[in-house]
Symmetry: C2
Subunit: 483 residues, 2 copies
Amino acid sequence: MSGTNPFDLSRHLSSEAKARVANPMKAIWKLIQQQPNVVMLANGDPHFSLYPIRKVDFEVASIENQDPVKSWTASRLSARTLLLTSSSSNRSALPLNLGLQYANGAGRPEAQRAAAALTQFYHAPPDHITTLTLGNFDGITKCLRLLGEPGDKFLADEFAFRAVTNAGVPQGIEWISVKMDGCGMIPESLEEILVRWDEGRGKRPHVLYVVPCGQNPTGSTLSLERRRKIYEIAQLYDLVIIEDDPYYFLQYPSDPNDSSLVPSFLSLDTDGRVIRLDSLSKILAPGLRLGWLTSSAAFHEHLIALTDSSTQHPHGFGQVFLAELLSEHGWGLAGFDRWVSSLREEYRRRRDFFLEEFERRIGGSGLVNARAPEAGMFVWIRVNIEKHPRYQNGINAGDGAAARARTNVAQLMQELFMCCLDSGLVIVPASVFALSGDSVWDDSAVPIEDRVYFLRATFAGTEEIMRKGLEILANVLQTFFAE
Amino acid sequence: MSGTNPFDLSRHLSSEAKARVANPMKAIWKLIQQQPNVVMLANGDPHFSLYPIRKVDFEVASIENQDPVKSWTASRLSARTLLLTSSSSNRSALPLNLGLQYANGAGRPEAQRAAAALTQFYHAPPDHITTLTLGNFDGITKCLRLLGEPGDKFLADEFAFRAVTNAGVPQGIEWISVKMDGCGMIPESLEEILVRWDEGRGKRPHVLYVVPCGQNPTGSTLSLERRRKIYEIAQLYDLVIIEDDPYYFLQYPSDPNDSSLVPSFLSLDTDGRVIRLDSLSKILAPGLRLGWLTSSAAFHEHLIALTDSSTQHPHGFGQVFLAELLSEHGWGLAGFDRWVSSLREEYRRRRDFFLEEFERRIGGSGLVNARAPEAGMFVWIRVNIEKHPRYQNGINAGDGAAARARTNVAQLMQELFMCCLDSGLVIVPASVFALSGDSVWDDSAVPIEDRVYFLRATFAGTEEIMRKGLEILANVLQTFFAE
Ligand SMILES: Cc1ncc(COP(=O)(O)O)c(C=O)c1O
Ligand SMILES: Cc1ncc(COP(=O)(O)O)c(C=O)c1O
């Protein structure tokens, strides 16, 4: 999938990325590659005969059954398993002696190829290269370093995964929020910001961070139509799109017989302007700390340079695990697909359970409502806070960022959050995610401070947890609004 | 080992570190910790029943034998092993369901405690906290972010591990080189730089990067006396010391009955100004990508904030491995100590083998000489390039950084390197490591460009590799000098 790219990407790189000096050893390695049988007295690499680890076995779920997640969770300890083994034997997909040696930033070729095969299968991007990461968070923060300059303004959803946006702040990135509705980022709002941009106030944004499926926190999923529009805007205004898509495999289209997944930005990317991030966190386990990033060759080169001079290549056990899992002795690609399809059904059941409980317990109250998310793990609950006896509008609510607020929504929602907590329920208030937009661009009638009347709840837990949680929420809401 | 620290460290932090904004979720987690039995509808954390991994087994070397490395390498596939297992059973030192969940930057407490126990055992630092890292390289680059400001000048050995110094360059760190002799960094040279510092040329350096044992590339080890002097200078001039010590466990004191290890800077650190980095790379396997960093509480706090917003906590398999290995079902601390002691003897044998071959094949030539390193994996070979027929002195050798050179040492050494490569030997020329000092501080009669007459060779390989490599080197040297 490597190759040249028509789109010149270098102007998007940060001066930090451009200032990265090549390791002088690199030139030496290049020379060595032309020399087939060299004797190495060069590097302080312990010889593998001194690694005190002979073999690693991972006992994983079998995917023989048509619905492997169901049998895995139902049969529990008696569920069938498959043993993935790596040793120094060359029957290993990634032999341990190689997996436990130093490697380079992109990852061992065996593991990198396994991840690339997934990308090829699901997205068939025009012309991109895969780099292993330590999960999407690591991948995104590397992109911020690669693309972000102090003072740069980047675009994101107005309710965003704050851990990511916060991570950009110390390096001087400012975030400009794009309006959302129930279907995610509104392309017209994105375009408006760019059309009306006044260069006198700083460089126009050149990066858009977007979570296309089951967005965190709103649970919204961008339709193909919106994706196309956003991509066109990106072409028009020369944006790089960071596509953070950990919930890609967890899509629940309204027609349950429709098993298709919405095409990713990557799959539409003829220009090489999309950097896509995939993660094993939500589909296998978050503690694996493994994911992969797909980008144009030009970005790839800078990414591995950055990786080589920061985290270095991902951990050997994870790479071995990935390579073995996707090999013919493991799940293979077909088995992986069966697992994620089955997992999708499992989460769809959980989502439906959540929504039924929600409807049954609080649906009739008129105090809250929620729409069924088409992907991910989150339900975004609209609290009809305007019905609260102490709700106020047309006031001057605070100073600092809150100066624009004309209501006491933020304060009431904070009270509601504390009431939940006091009753033993943790649910996340929207204020945690609200990107306080630059008011110069944000002339909407209602500033975000007055629209934080949402709660983020997850259906990732067990039925027991959901039942208990929603019971508490119902009680708290009754009391809180009945004041 | 936590506690307050008398030394105010905050002035050493970069503005980037200080600008890091707290994740608003953190405040919520604080509240939750006061609430014992909460129902969590908060986070998108997959439930562990959905992780398709039931068990992981690591087959590691047994440490029952007194000299476990010897029996491991001698008996190879028939060598005795020990099985480390982690599952969701609570007999696991770090159960897999916890190890594979999201955690925080410092690492799971079980693994963090295991690393802290090693630090306590070997260094007994006055008042420090341990944070897990992805190996020393990751740890150092995080320290650079934590302490470095664009334009800052940091101190390092004049021949340094360039991957580290280069990593600081894109963020604007400039390196000032400190003179070395066969015993490593010269304390008097360090002091001279600081005494003579002219603030008009920029802020005085506040960070010293040092590799105290088996320095890469020179193989030198700082004596306890030098360490004390350097620490005193650090106190006087308020330096933070980054102690990068991957070769700590590979020390070969001249008296083979002396099994003591030179005390680390950390063990001397009453002020909290030492940040020490330990790695599993050289003693277990580099692909593990796991290490730990020991610092004062004030630095620790900023480190985990940085980790939480970049790499995130280290991979679960590695943490599980470390926790199990050091548990009573694994090697335990005593077993670990036996392994590293035995490994030390193994590398001492390799070093001695290397030096004997070196002496036998080229020792008499008068063209090169080398001193026996007291730690690590490297021999620093002095090439007596002055004996080369084309050696020139008192010339004007080049422009740019090389303008200070008065000899053609750099050019001849490059030729020698290429001759080695053409004959099938990879050995690293000193120019790769030479930090071109700021000439204003460096008024030594002979600039570093004229002192790159060294080659770095490693004895980490097998005897076969060393024998072949030194044979080639001997032949190349004869031909090269006989021109
Ligand atoms: C939108 C989004 N991006 C990234 C992440 C982090 O993913 P990873 O575990 O792969 O770093 C999360 C996790 O909650 C998320 O919701
Ligand atoms: C001095 C020094 N520091 C750090 C490292 C890298 O260590 P790690 O593998 O723990 O990142 C090396 C590896 O060669 C080294 O020689």
